[in-house]
């Protein structure tokens, strides 16, 4: 068979065992770019679109489990977006409607580009990446999953089945800078997640390092700076958002490339982070109610 269309995760895993050279195909939005350009010449393909489990999402207690085959477009729809507004925000910045209706969260993870839009959100949320392989199932913390630019901790024959994140219990923001107003690869992006239940802040950074980065010092600073005792998170000092931005910028390790410079990326990531926190905590700061 040239193209295998498994319907269960087990079938998909055994199909890979049978054809170790086969390429896994999810939404195709990354894979086919490589094929069309002649960088990749597949001899066998395992297409995942018929694997029912991968296409599902569910709320499991205070956790949200998003199947690897869930598209960006579906992350924008009401139920899923309500449980994870940060993922919805990030999904909305991905490519165009055409890309969003094909591309999947599993594909975003599997490609592991430092600019992958959902990845900073998954970092900020402390996501667990669920995997299935010849040796069974396991899960990995998001930050252990990405090991380098376009490199992951997937073992041979292993595939991504889902991500598991906390259901939102506070504001979540994703902001992304590109050089165009739509359809652009991130030059720098930030996810900031405020978790009212745990009184914690999560931060994830995109395009400013070889992998999506966390900013633990900034996150701890923000969690301390935020007043959690009111109805929602409140920042009493405007300067705290500025300081948060500085700490985020300090956590980044960007490079120069043809899309931008390291200096600009460092600046932008700080500004974006500051704005995320400021707006997540609005209107107590009173700066921007718009």
């Amino acid at each position: 068979m040239d193209v295998t269309l498994p319907t269960t995760v087990d079938e998909a895993v055994s199909a890979r065992a049978d054809a170790p050279d086969a390429v896994l195909l999810a939404g195709g939005t990354d894979l086919m770019v490589a094929v069309n350009a002649g960088w990749l010449n597949p001899t066998a393909v395992i297409a995942l679109r018929s694997v029912a489990e991968l296409g599902q999402w569910r709320v499991d207690g205070d956790q949200l489990v998003v199947g690897a085959g869930v598209t960006y477009e579906r992350m924008l729809r009401e139920g899923l977006a309500a449980s994870s507004p940060g993922l919805a925000d990030a999904a909305r910045t991905v490519g165009s409607p055409q890309i969003r209706s094909a591309g999947t969260i599993g594909g975003n993870l599997g490609t592991a580009s430092p600019a992958g839009d959902t990845l900073p959100v998954l970092v900020a949320l402390g996501a667990m990446v669920e995997l299935a392989g010849p040796d069974g199932r396991r899960s990995l913390p998001m930050q252990e999953f990405t090991t380098g630019p376009k490199r992951t901790a997937l073992a041979p024959g292993e595939m991504i089945t889902a991500v598991r994140v906390p259901v939102a219990s506070g504001p979540q923001q994703y902001r992304k800078v590109g050089v165009r107003n739509a359809m652009v690869i991130a030059v720098a992006s930030v996810a900031v997640v405020l978790d009212g239940d745990r009184r914690s802040v999560g931060v994830g950074l995109g395009s400013v390092g070889p992998v999506p980065l966390a900013a633990p010092e900034a996150a701890v600073f923000a969690a301390d700076a935020v007043d959690w005792s009111a109805g929602g998170p409140v920042l009493h000092e405007v300067d705290a958002a500025v300081r948060f931005g500085e700490l985020v910028a300090a956590a980044s390790s960007p490079i120069d490339d043809h899309r931008s410079s390291a200096a600009y990326r460092r600046l932008a990531i700080g500004v974006l982070a500051e704005r995320c926190l400021r707006t997540a905590c609005a209107p107590a700061v009173g700066e921007d109610a718009a």
């Binding site: 068979m1 040239d2 193209v3 269309l5 195909l25 939404g27 195709g28 939005t29 894979l31 086919m32 770019v33 094929v35 069309n36 350009a37 990749l40 010449n41 597949p42 001899t43 066998a44 393909v45 297409a47 679109r49 018929s50 477009e73 490519g95 165009s96 409607p97 055409q98 890309i99 209706s101 094909a102 107003n181 739509a182 359809m183």
Partner: protein, 166 residues
């Protein structure tokens, strides 16, 4: 070469033979199935000129591995069923409002606007812009395209519930 496979395009089953596994749906539509209406502008999913519907979702056919699209319903610009007369309401609006210049991006835009109006019959200006932001056009600056979307909305509004005569 792949084994023969069958695609369901515009309601018809079409057999694809002697294809190379890496061929995109766009290539197969254009070069094997005689359906060149979908255009190859970038083959990276950036220009939208190859937009088709796959199981009701708007996608770039250049990013669909053809052999993996077995069992899906594919609709191309050639398969848009005119609701009346010679053109769909969106196609008519594009012609009337001057939204067509060189026309290379046009089939993709027609697909995208159909997709938009089927989901949101009365989109705001920003919703229109966002919905077609994946369809690059180099001739029009999009101005007449926006006018065409507005006209298509008006046609649908006027025609809703009424079977038009011509």
């Amino acid at each position: 070469m792949t084994s023969p496979y069958v695609l369901t395009v515009n309601g018809t089953d079409r057999t694809v033979e002697d294809a190379w596994l890496g061929e995109s749906l766009l290539y197969v539509l254009r070069e094997r199935l005689g359906l060149p209406g979908s255009k190859a502008g970038c083959e990276q999913g950036e220009c939208g000129s190859c937009s088709v519907e796959l199981d009701g979702e708007l996608v770039c056919s250049c990013l669909v591995l053809s052999a993996s699209a077995v069992g899906t319903r594919i609709v191309t610009v050639e398969g848009l069923q005119p609701e009346r007369g010679e053109f769909t309401d969106v196609q008519q609006a594009f012609v009337d409002e001057g939204a067509v210049k060189c026309g290379f991006c046009t089939p993709g835009l027609i697909m995208a606007v159909h997709d938009l109006l089927d989901r949101r019959p009365e989109p705001s200006d920003l919703e229109v812009r966002e919905a077609i932001s994946g369809n690059l056009c180099r001739c029009t600056g999009y101005g007449r395209v926006f006018a065409a979307v507005e006209a298509a909305v008006a046609i649908r509004r006027a025609g809703s519930g009424v079977e038009a005569t011509t």
